[in-house]
Symmetry: C2
Subunit: 169 residues, 2 copies
DNA sequence: CCTAGATCGTAAGTATACTGTCAATCAACA
DNA sequence: TGTTGATTGACAGTATACTTACGATCTAGG
């Protein structure tokens, strides 16, 4: 026999994975901004700074693959980081299309100073759960994000993107 | 003794709850848009339509509480739904500030037609996990979102927001 | 060498998702 | 009653997050 048509109610939305992911993301950003309000950094800008710190001299396209942002979005993110003097762009000698990214002194400093606030934020997001449940949730999420990587418009390419660096070293 | 300072690397970001929530949200939106591409509806617009269907005659402020969006954001969402002729706004007689929201015939029709695609999208998001893990993840997420509700800038007020409706019925 | 295709950064366009602020309106209290 | 304070929808401003497109540049194939 045919399956019952799903009910058209808001309660079905409340239990839908998509809704819960959106809601949790809203909450996570809100907590991050609250804990880090004395620093002039958004979650996305923070991730970009960390990635540049880890891979100095990376270019914007590869950076977008490393933190899984869209290339266009990243352009404006970098612009803002540059305006705040946290990031510096230098043209690459071998390829005139490319601009290499480096942290400025201020960028390295704010990164060092903001870490405790970020740690507090990350902890607060999971705080309502029992410790065992926190671990379980993170484990499942890591799995799911990884297995769904290709479904995203901008898949994460943490390793691929870095072949230009360190190849010679 | 003092705890070790956390390492400043991109790998720490990959394991951070905030990063995983953002990434999962990206993936969820991407899957939704793919499954629903023949319908001219975003996830947010879909949620708004469902909520208006469940609560006909709701006003924009209450709607924002029911689906946990910011009031400002919702304004433009409604505008777009109105431009597509899925939603209608009528001034309330008792309160000249309020505009009441109703689905149009097209709005009710697209809602009916899009449901299967939305169901497919929701299923696809969790598909990579084993069935037991899907249940576990959803259970933990429902808990976490609920317990963190007040941490969000726009807490969900599913019940409060509806006191103006149905009180008389 | 020189053109075909790929890649880089950028730009314009759309849609969330917030922050404020504002005028109009309403509700409640002195 | 009349004024204070709250609420509603609207607007401006900032920041993601995506799409498509385009010029500049690089790389490979002939």
């Amino acid at each position: 026999m045919p399956s019952k048509p799903p009910p058209i109610t808001i309660d079905a939305v409340y239990a839908a994975p998509g809704y819960l992911f959106r809601r949790m993301q809203q909450i996570a950003v809100s907590i991050f901004m609250e804990e880090c309000k004395t620093f002039d950094l958004t979650p996305v800008q923070y991730a970009a700074l960390i990635a540049i710190h880890t891979h100095p001299g990376i270019d914007a396209t590869r950076l977008s693959a490393v933190i899984a942002f869209d290339r266009s979005t990243l352009g404006s993110v970098i612009e803002r980081l540059q305006a705040k003097d946290f990031v510096e762009r230098r043209p690459a000698l071998e390829d005139k299309r490319i601009k290499l990214l480096y942290l400025t002194k201020s960028g390295a400093a704010i990164l060092r100073d903001i870490i405790p606030a970020v740690e507090r934020a990350q902890a607060r997001m999971l705080e309502p759960l029992k410790p065992a449940d926190r671990k379980a949730l993170m484990g499942l999420l890591v799995q799911l994000v990884d297995l769904n990587n290709e479904a995203s418009r901008v898949p994460l390419r943490a390793d691929d993107a870095l072949e230009h660096l360190g190849k010679t070293g």
